[in-house]
Symmetry: C2
Subunit: 431 residues, 2 copies
């Protein structure tokens, strides 16, 4: 208590200065939308050759006319390009349209209405459908669950990935847990890459449900900020070795490689899952846009081309992430009065910084920042049903604004964190 | 009987000649795939400017960066372009990806899992789900029904569209009939355009199901073969006037206008249906490919541009359809021995000729043609569950081959029809 009172007093002494700074932000008339992880125009410019006529025209390697109908699972050369991204052989890959989210959504819908290979029927027949949701996580994953009435069980996520003791216990004890969302590399928003040990445990664990699926959203597979990227071990092989070949459904897209709204998505899985998905897809569509696949193959050529391209993204993104870290370190780090109030991640890739305020402060920080023109992802968005039980997590998306804008915005966020913390401490002290 | 015996004898007298001709086809070593209504490379060439950099680049009229995320329902300028095709105001249009089939499939899935505006809940809760299927019709529509366990009730289709007496009686008496597939213009495969009277009755009819939907696949809205196209009256206005605003879900695409595999699809409906679809779409995807929308707006400009473009398609397609008609007329028409055996359509638009052989002959004709290298759409494919109760309908798809190839192929088909008819008559005579 002594310590807390001292902290309150020290922070309180900063109050007038913080209030003055906050008032100053209002005067600046900021207007910045940092709600989503959108690439910046400079990043999109890197792929502008996609707009031009592909050098190879409209003809695929196997002679297919990319302009015409056909090819429900995509062109072989596009599968080749995705193969090292998804750690899967081309024949275990299905190319989709421009949205991996749609491929995930549709995989869930197929399972609900028809069931999955190795399953006992449509998930719709289960008394309830439950998914494990490492949280904080990706709001659009949670939105899919909510939309279809899938109950979400949050799982803590630590520095190596989800809390596997918790995961193993849950999946073993409850046969209605048929799925788990994973963003295994540079996770949204925590930036965590699942350790080899976690991947291995996910592959091996026994599940009560015979048709349990890992929805492995490898959205940031090649999205390193630094020359040495973090290494994610290969879930498809790990599951096969563990005798759970049909467990993983791995997704990736070029949304944050080429064009965010006009890229190519893909799914990789076991031969049985791929055959099953193709059977359903052949009812849903005559096939995805092959011309855009040819454009992508033309632009990148091969995996080395993608690696080169991603280094150019990193050159644009790295200074933005470093600006966030510098600002938070200066304002909320070191040995100052505000030190230790908040914690944040320093990711080595991906699109987000995850900021934890003191409990009960995140909503207030987001509201305060918005009031002075800095729109952040809604507090709670990173948790199932938009409810952060500790109201502390804020997802920072630094990709879109300029470095200068980020510096301004993060100063706002830091001051809001300090002010919100001060008010919370005062409220506690009064209570 | 006298007449039949005379016909058998006359046809039988032709037998040796027909056999000789059929044997001759084998020697020709034909190899032709006419199974699907694919545009020819020459048609696709008409839109090759789609491959080039759009003159307007990546910026939409409202300033949207077409390369980035966003815009779940498409760009305003793309909606404008579809507005006269779909007879709907832009704000009642949703732009999709490259596949209108996918938009139809997804609309059915949404209705099954969530229900529709004005409905009493998810269709999945109905004791059974039934659709009316004017037949012969489009196999991919029927495949969607079959895939989701929707019972299909075939309805006769005549020169003005579906038999409305039958339709009205069925929808009024059975609340489990919640949908009806329609290809209202240049119908697949009959080429029929629904008359104003039929459209009006479809709009006005009373249905036992409160949430009955017309799945209005206007695939050939601007696909006239002749300068004066057939006129289809506007289902969206007709339903609104009749107090059934939420009844129609109208679909179209540029698949057979620009690139078959890389076009743009769209849905038009009532404000309530559109809002409902958007709500679901926002869970399924972040948005469709806007760059391809910009390319299309750039290529066509406006509806007059589409009309001009379609006249160029017609110049390529018309001689092919006329070659089919000429061959059938020569081989199976006039006053000759084989006259009256078969009947066929002379469509003024669309992609197909519908050929009716004598009852029980279609499968044999398709098999005989395939045996000499002419692959036709499977017999029965134009009926629910692939079963043509009279085994007489064959869908001819003349778009892909050259005029010379069509002449050769249709001669094969005509001879196969005559031979199959002869054998069927002989079998009857023996019986």
């Amino acid at each position: 208590m002594e310590h807390r009172r001292a902290a309150v007093e020290a922070l309180a002494s900063l109050g007038p200065e913080l209030e003055a700074r906050y008032a100053g932000f209002k005067a600046r008339g900021l207007k910045l939308d940092m709600t989503r992880g959108k690439p910046s125009p400079e990043q999109l410019d890197l792929a502008d050759a996609l707009l031009d006529r592909p050098r190879r025209g409209f003809g695929a390697l196997d002679g297919t006319d990319g302009r015409n109908y056909g090819g429900v699972d995509g062109l072989p050369e596009m599968k080749e390009l995705f193969s090292p991204i998804l750690d899967a052989p081309p024949e275990q890959i299905i190319i989709g349209g421009n949205s991996s989210l749609q491929m995930m959504h549709d995989a869930v819908v197929r399972a609900i209405l028809h069931g999955v290979p190795g399953g006992v029927g449509p998930w719709a027949r289960l008394p309830s459908i439950r998914f494990l949701c490492p949280a904080p996580g990706y709001d659009r994953h949670f939105a899919i669950c909510q939309h279809f009435g899938i109950e979400m069980l949050p799982v803590e996520i630590g520095s190596e990935g989800p809390d596997m003791d918790q995961v193993e216990e849950l999946v073993l004890s409850d046969a209605s847990i048929v799925g788990m969302w994973c963003v295994p590399k540079y996770s949204n928003p925590t930036g965590v890459t699942y350790s080899d040990h976690v991947v291995e445990r996910l592959a091996r664990m026994r599940t009560a449900a015979p048709d349990f699926r890992l929805l492995w959203d490898n959205a940031y597979a090649v999205h390193d900020l630094y020359p040495e990227g973090e290494r994610l071990s290969d879930i498809i092989s790990a599951c096969r070795r563990a005798g759970h070949e049909n467990r993983p459904l791995a997704f990736a897209s070029t949304s944050k490689i080429s064009f965010a709204g006009a890229g190519i998505a893909a799914l990789a899985s076991s031969p049985a899952n791929v055959a099953d998905a193709k059977r359903h897809l052949s009812i849903q569509t005559i096939g995805p846009d092959k011309i855009n696949q040819l454009r992508h193959v033309d632009l990148f050529g091969d995996f080395a081309g993608i690696r080169r391209h991603m280094r150019r993204h990193a050159e644009i993104l790295r200074p933005k992430f470093e600006a966030v870290a510098e600002c938070f370190e200066r304002e909320l780090g070191g040995n100052g009065v505000t030190s230790g109030i908040a914690s944040w991640t320093n990711p080595r890739g991906g699109y987000f910084v995850s900021l934890d305020t003191p409990d009960g402060c995140a909503s207030r920080v987001v509201a305060m920042a918005e009031a002075v023109g800095v729109k952040l992802t809604a507090a709670g968005a990173t948790f199932p049903r938009g409810h952060d039980p500790r109201d502390r997590n804020i997802r920072i998306a630094p990709s879109m604004p300029s470095v200068a804008q980020i510096r301004g915005a993060m100063e706002v966020v830091a001051v809001c964190v300090a002010l919100a913390s001060l008010r919370a401490l005062e409220a506690t002290a009064r209570a």
